[in-house]
């Protein structure tokens, strides 16, 4: 999944004989088989356990984890699933929500059950940032902060001297509640990067925020109501903090409501996982927890009919069902009101329709709804833009880049730019395609310290302009048929001179052989 497409992120990486699945998401735009990744690429009928060494989930958005219970419980995978603590906490709630909408509301059968979500979560191993997790003797993974949403992480996967970095979704500019993504110069062989905003370089965030506040303020001033459809977690908190501080500063009185349910719980998660937010919030949380809002109160259905201005955050974000749609219907007829769409809307949803300018909507029961209220779109998605992606490539210094999670045309543009600027290979496989990178790892061998020191002692500092030639003998043990260069990272290779090995058992033997051969003469 996610090949030249946004949705159902699912990438299989084979590295040094290990297979790792990166993310396991669903697609918002489909309701048929295409909503989940196509696991038949891996195996037709059998379980995935024997093909996959582990599964890594980058963050809790459903397009990155929505197919997880399906994969682990219905297709079958018993190995470890890695994710960060906040992801582990929030992921099952969103999965359950998704299941409820699909099964209970749309009445689908053949979908994963609550129990399956629970069983699936039992296979999850939580990881901390920068912790090196040894999946098995050879495979290790390490998480880096990605900033996109609470608990979002980038993962480095390493086998021997080969490594891959998968970014998941990330954001290179810190915002009001999260920090910026960061990675060290780990020089992976492949960097798998999202490219949602491959061609956009967004205007400054401050401008967007000012714009947003101005629009909300104006509407409220003239007595209108503002509806902001959001998903429970992520941008909602960002916008809440924005409005909260604005209300504080301007001393505004109009009520702000937050539709209950998930969101209240969500704010609680933010409070408990404060270490994952940005510097400022972490520093001040004892005096004032940013997620304890003064002006923002829980919403009740009956409030929608209250007279006077108000601002309401309601779920879901694309106006396709639930409370946000309910309120939208009530308020759409009044031109004083406004709806602000803060994120991406998938085709077919009410959100997408009104954004494309439709003024008359067909609702269920052949009713039409006339949209008189103002419709605004404002991008607050926390994805890296083209500048951010280039910045990350500069940070990590990969040997090649692979783009996913974006539209093909935009990827093409970014691919060219990357190839030009960094002169490294850049891939953008479609779903089902395989991109292969040949790595050329060095061979680690052991060298006797005395030999190395002797060589190093010849000059005060090694001078790269005057390379020194050294001689030694390479000893390959255990597997004579194995070419030294054939396998990376074997400890079987041993390097030393006869003299330095003389006190070791094997060394002694070799030494014997070697000296025997050296013709020496006296006289």
């Amino acid at each position: 999944g996610a090949g030249q497409d946004v949705g159902r992120s699912c990438i299989l990486v084979s590295i040094g004989g290990k297979n790792v699945m990166l993310d396991c998401g669903m697609h918002m735009g489909y309701n048929d088989d295409r909503r989940f990744p196509d696991f038949s690429y891996i195996t037709q009928n059998s379980r995935l356990t024997e093909f996959l060494d582990c599964v890594i989930i980058s963050h809790f958005h459903l397009d990155h984890c929505g197919a997880l219970p399906y994969m682990s419980e219905m297709v079958g995978f018993d190995g470890p699933i890695y994710m960060t603590h906040p992801t582990k906490a929030i992921c099952p709630i969103l999965l359950e929500d998704y299941r409820k909408i699909t099964v209970d509301k749309k009445g689908e059968t053949n979908f994963f059950t609550s129990q399956m979500i629970k069983d699936c979560m039992k296979k999850v191993v939580a990881v901390n940032l920068h912790q090196t997790v040894q999946v098995d003797d050879e495979l290790e993974i390490k998480a880096y902060y990605a900033g996109h949403v609470l608990g979002a992480a980038m993962f480095q996967i390493r086998v021997g001297l080969e490594s891959v970095v998968y970014t998941g979704d990330y954001n290179m500019t810190p915002d009001r509640h999260l920090g910026a993504a960061w990675i060290d110069k780990c020089r992976p062989d492949v960097l798998i990067s999202e490219s949602t905003y491959a061609t956009t370089i967004r205007d400054s965030k401050r401008c967007r925020e000012r714009d947003f506040l101005k629009k909300v303020h104006e509407t409220v001033e003239r007595g209108g109501k503002v509806l902001i459809p959001v998903f429970a977690l992520g941008r909602a908190q960002e916008l809440c903090i924005l409005l909260e501080t604005f209300w504080d500063r301007m001393n505004l009185k109009a009520p702000i409501y937050f539709s209950t349910g998930l969101t209240e719980k969500a704010n609680h998660y933010y409070k408990l996982f404060i270490t994952w937010t940005n510097q400022k919030i972490r520093k001040t949380f004892v005096q004032r927890n940013m997620f304890e809002f003064k002006h923002i109160k829980a919403f009740d259905r009956s409030y929608a009919d209250n007279p006077g201005p108000m601002v309401v955050f309601a779920t879901p974000g694309m106006l396709h069902a639930g409370q946000s749609l309910h309120i939208f219907k009530k308020w759409a007829g009044n031109e004083k009101n406004m709806v602000i769409m803060p994120g991406y809307c998938v085709q077919g949803t009410v959100g997408h329709k009104i954004l494309s300018g439709q003024k008359k909507l067909e609702m269920e029961g052949r009713q039409t709804l006339e949209v008189k209220m103002q419709v605004e779109y404002m991008s607050f998605s926390a994805h890296a833009d083209a500048k951010g992606i280039m910045q990350l490539i500069r940070m990590a210094e990969p040997r090649s880049v692979l783009l996913v999670h974006g539209e093909a045309k935009k990827m093409e543009f970014l691919k060219q730019k990357i190839e030009q600027e960094f002169s490294i290979n850049c891939f953008m496989p479609a779903n089902g395609e395989t991109a292969t990178t040949v790595t050329n790892p060095s061979v680690p061998v052991d060298i006797a310290l005395s030999l190395l020191k002797r060589e190093a002692a010849l000059g005060p500092l090694p001078d790269p302009k005057k390379p020194r030639t050294m001689h030694g003998t390479l000893i390959v043990k255990d597997n004579p048929s194995e070419e030294v260069s054939a396998a990376p990272a074997t400890d079987r290779v041993n390097q030393g001179t006869p003299a330095s090995l003389s006190d070791e058992e094997l060394g002694g033997y070799l030494c014997t052989l070697l000296r025997k051969g050296l013709p020496q003469s006296t006289g």
């Binding site: 912790q131 680690p444 310290l449 190093a456 030294v484 260069s485 290779v493 052989l513 025997k516």
Partner: protein, 659 residues
Amino acid sequence: MKLYCLSGHPTLPCNVLKFKSTTIMLDCGLDMTSALNFLPLPLVHSPRLAKLPGWVSKDGNTFLEKELKECAGRVFVDSLPEFCLPERELLDLSTIDVILISNYHCMMALPYITEHTGFTGTVYATEPTLQIGRLLMEELVNFIERVPKAQSATCWKNKEIQRLLPAPLKDTVEVSTWKSCYTMQEVNSALSKVQLVGYSQKIELFGAVQITPLSSGYSLGSSNWIIQSHYEKVSYVSGSSLLTTHPQPMDQSSLKNSDVLILTGLTQIPTANPDGMLGEFCSNLAMTVRTGGNVLVPCYSSGVIYDLLECLYQFIDSASLTTIPFYFISPVANSSLEFSQIFAEWLCHNKQSKVYLPEPPFPHAELIQTNKLKHYPSVHGDFSNDFKQPCVVFTGHPSLRFGDVVHFMELWGKSSINTIIFTEPDFSYLEALAPYQPLAMKCVYCPIDTRLNFIQVSKLLKEVQPLHVVCPEQYVRPPPAQSHRSDLMLDCQPPTMPYRRCSVLSLPFRRRYERIELLPELADSLVPSEIKPGISVATVTAVLHTKDNKHVLRPTLKLAPAPPPSKKRKRVLEEPPEHRAPKPLLSGAVPIEQFLATLQKHGITEVKVEDTPDGHILHLQDEDTLIQLEEDSTHIICDNNEILRATLRDLVLRFLQKF
């Protein structure tokens, strides 16, 4: 490899490890027991303390009257308390590259080291260690700075004068290194040098050494450290616990295969069982409050207090103590309680799963919500309005020399219905109480020290099997008060290497190998030949590149497949690197029968063969030449007959493999 021991306190260690050209300081503990020699700093003027008589020496000399005061037969220094610093003369502390912190109690001397020794390196600690360590330092500075003292006593420190003082002042050592407390500015500057790390994170130091913190189970974010290169491994175990309290359990398996294990921070009260003590704590507390008395618990503002509060949370309902107010008084009380709730990743499994619900991991959140537990920055302000007796007060400092606890000692000390319960093991409770004598208040000693005891340690050592164990000398003999208890000491094989303050230990291992990388092109060009089943050998001629302590072998320029950029090439041509082919190495045995036959073919017939333990000596009688064939050498001894020698050499070479 050397270990410099800068602290003699076994639970507040400070050691410096020199390993592979890096200098690593392990912990930075501050020995605060020295404060026990000072008079308490009262928050509110205390007539009792002010009226204490000055000390007069036996010969009636009164020159120290102002500096030293006498209370219940003991002499105390009337000055701001001072602390015993790690040794600073043993080695140049400005050469330290990094400081590794294992837990927040072991970093209290950090500002003294980072701010006053020319230190330019990095400090590594986990996030909870940094945050809670900062709180403890802030609290300490606050305790001391809010009661300024006009004079500071220095005369008594003079060696000549100190000799004349009564015990224990006479016997205190290192008095000259004692220093008064640092300032908040120094704390901030010291902590700005901290780099945060997570458990199992691998950190490269200069490419030479890799360090990794591991969970140690003792407190929030507490860690043991692995310091290793490709071939050597040193484990630093400090303040570890196997009990299930709030922190993440200890990671033991990663300590396996250590060459050296440095063991510090074992339990200070090996005879007390923490669970039993907790029970005793609760029952004593209940008894006192039921009779209308107040309970004073001197404690640190983080750590065991979380467990105490959790224990009380379960206990107060069953003991029907719901109406008794609990007060937690410290300048950092609020921060400590808040911080404890946000470190889910560092908590034990049980508490972690609470956060997933989402619920606060510690039940003291509920105690605060229901108003059973109240916290105040000090006894001044809001507290004096809300204060109701009987009550339970948690406050610092456990030494009873400064902090709000001094106020409560003066307030409640005279009544026998009140109780003080000691839970922190760092200070002797008798010494802590000395300046308050005579005291009517009941004293209960329930030290709760969750660190490893000797049984757990010996089991641990058996499991992880280090080649050598280094530990403070206190651990290799029974405690002085219980000299018959041979079970209260470390007894392991191989024998431990004990250290004391100012020891310099040479750690017994020889480094023999180093990791080097062959570039793939070079590896491709090698042709190993098998000389014995399972063993192949190839000669390597290559250029050694060393950068950031990483060694890489590259093909010599002749072999380089891709020509280097033209500009570079010119220079190389101008000054070609010294390059000579190495002599081929030979191997194999000379089969004696066939060798004789060959000699015969070349007209050498008169050969006397003599067997020696190592091989054969061939005496070529006509030529007056000896050929010694031994297992690892061949000598041809002939007199100035170069032609013959060459012939014989070539004959020997025929039987040997070249590579």
